[in-house]
Symmetry: C2
Subunit: 308 residues, 2 copies
């Protein structure tokens, strides 16, 4: 088993979907990544920042999930990052209603000493310079550095983004972002161009259409589990990344073959995340439920053709 460092936001979210709305609830990339990775009982540490308004019960929740929070700075006089969004009826598009950076505006991530030798580093969506700072703090080069990002940084910090992309092993990015980053419509061509930017592995997330893993000429495809309804997509991408990183940290096997399994675990966990608001479903997930859904993924994708 490997150690896992997770950097990302820990936040308040207020979410509105066609099914209802929430007040301020627990959210943030590092939160979703951490909860997903915790399913694998890895030795994980979250690096983030919150304000004095952040409830102790949320921190206790992470501790109970075996997530080390020494790297979560609490700025007593500050306020926690807040995001509010409203999903449209198709659940594939959303409007951001509010983004209050608060303590995130001056976030200087500090990796706890005990985790500076972590084999796996998961860089959640943040300013690329913050992601780079975490990489630079590592005493030993991680066996696997995974980066998630979004179009916002392509628009306003492209040079910094390219600098950190050059340093990492795996990028997780959605289809539209892959197209924006490369100027290529074909995801196969886009993945090749991203390879040339640095990452040996490229994961392109297609939301309800699943995820593609690319490595040189190899490809792997994991569907999203077709569901009757997506209740709240918030955190699904981070949950995918957390499941992916957590499984790889647990198995300490960074081969393409094992990364296929990691993609399946990521998709499996993401399929739970969307069933309830925010982190609710991820907080009470059991191993039996996960195993059952893995069986569903097998049934969904496995077939028996003997090619002569």
């Amino acid at each position: 088993m490997s150690k896992l460092v997770i950097v990302g936001t820990v936040a308040f979210d207020a979410i509105e979907t066609p099914f209802g709305k929430t007040d301020k609830i627990l959210g943030g990339a590092a939160t979703f990544i951490g909860l997903a990775a915790s399913q694998f009982n890895v030795d994980a540490a979250a690096v983030s920042v919150v304000g004095g308004d952040f409830p102790q019960e949320y921190l206790d929740l992470m501790i109970n999930k075996n997530i080390n929070i020494d790297g979560i700075e609490v700025i007593k006089e500050g306020k926690t990052f807040f995001w509010s969004g409203k999903y449209h009826n198709d659940m594939n598009t959303r409007d951001t209603l509010a983004t209050e950076l608060n303590v995130l505006a001056d976030f200087n991530p500090v990796v706890p000493n005990h985790y500076k030798n972590a084999e796996v580093v998961m860089l959640g969506n943040l300013h690329p310079m913050v992601q780079m700072s975490v990489l630079e703090q590592m005493d030993t080069k991680p066996k696997l550095a995974i980066l998630d990002t979004m179009n916002f940084w392509m628009d306003c910090a492209l040079e910094d983004l390219h600098a950190v992309i050059k340093k990492i092993d795996v990028i997780t990015i959605n289809d539209e972002e892959a197209r924006q980053l490369t100027g290529e419509y074909s995801l196969v061509v886009a993945a090749r161009k991203i390879h040339e930017m640095g990452p040996k592995y490229v994961v392109i997330k297609k939301g309800e259409h699943g995820a593609l893993l690319f490595h040189k000429e190899d490809m792997f495809y994991a569907p999203a589990l077709p569901v009757e309804e997506v209740f709240d997509p918030t955190g699904a991408g981070d949950t995918f990344a957390g499941g992916f990183a957590g499984y790889l940290a647990k198995t300490a096997d960074y081969s393409f073959e094992n990364m296929k399994n990691a993609v399946i675990y990521g998709s499996t966990l993401a399929s739970f995340c969307v069933e309830k608001f925010g982190t609710e479903r991820m907080q009470n997930l059991t191993t039996d439920e996960i195993d059952h859904r893995l069986e569903q993924f097998k049934k969904l994708t496995q077939f028996n053709i003997d090619v002569s």
Copy 2:
């Protein structure tokens, strides 16, 4: 091995894509379905109509592919159905430039006597009353009747469409059409509503995002092979249907498990179809090429997680 009856258009297409344009070339649903099904050396008959302008070489091509053409009526004084379309840069949307029904306007399909006991009937996209007429001509109830349709018939012949949908075993339909037919956004819910209309099996085609097979509570997902470029999508859906129907006719096994393989074969053949204009790629496809691509599909989708 089962006999296979295919009804659908045999046509001229003129196609424009970002990569080039064609004059009038061979097209039509029955053509693409037949060429795909012919890969399985099944005893297939095409039922269609063409005009006196239809070249003998195109009919010879079908005969050479072992497709019985006794059911293709030639109306000497008439003109062959003509369709012309232009694809946009993303290749997912197209404008129809011309639709000349010609001999198709008064098409009365006639199933050759020798094929009235066929076990598998593939009803390609046509007016639902034409599809119904073919079903009614069968002496014995087919073991498997498969129907393909499109939104056009939902707009202008919905009642007739419902009547024929009630009679068939498998429907192949694209995602937007499934949503239009049921008024449901979720494809899982849409598939259930279509089940209730009659078909025991529902195949929802999602273009570049693959295809879903539904049967009661079971689901199976086949991705489309990610490709560098789609040269011409014309006929991909019909090729999928032809591969699906051809494989089932060849194996004469209509179980859900075998239908999974049929979906994979359909996707495999469709992945070739889009590589060249019209039927060009399908005319010269070898068994080795198909086997090689099936291996690619396996690599793309198969994984090894042992659920404890």
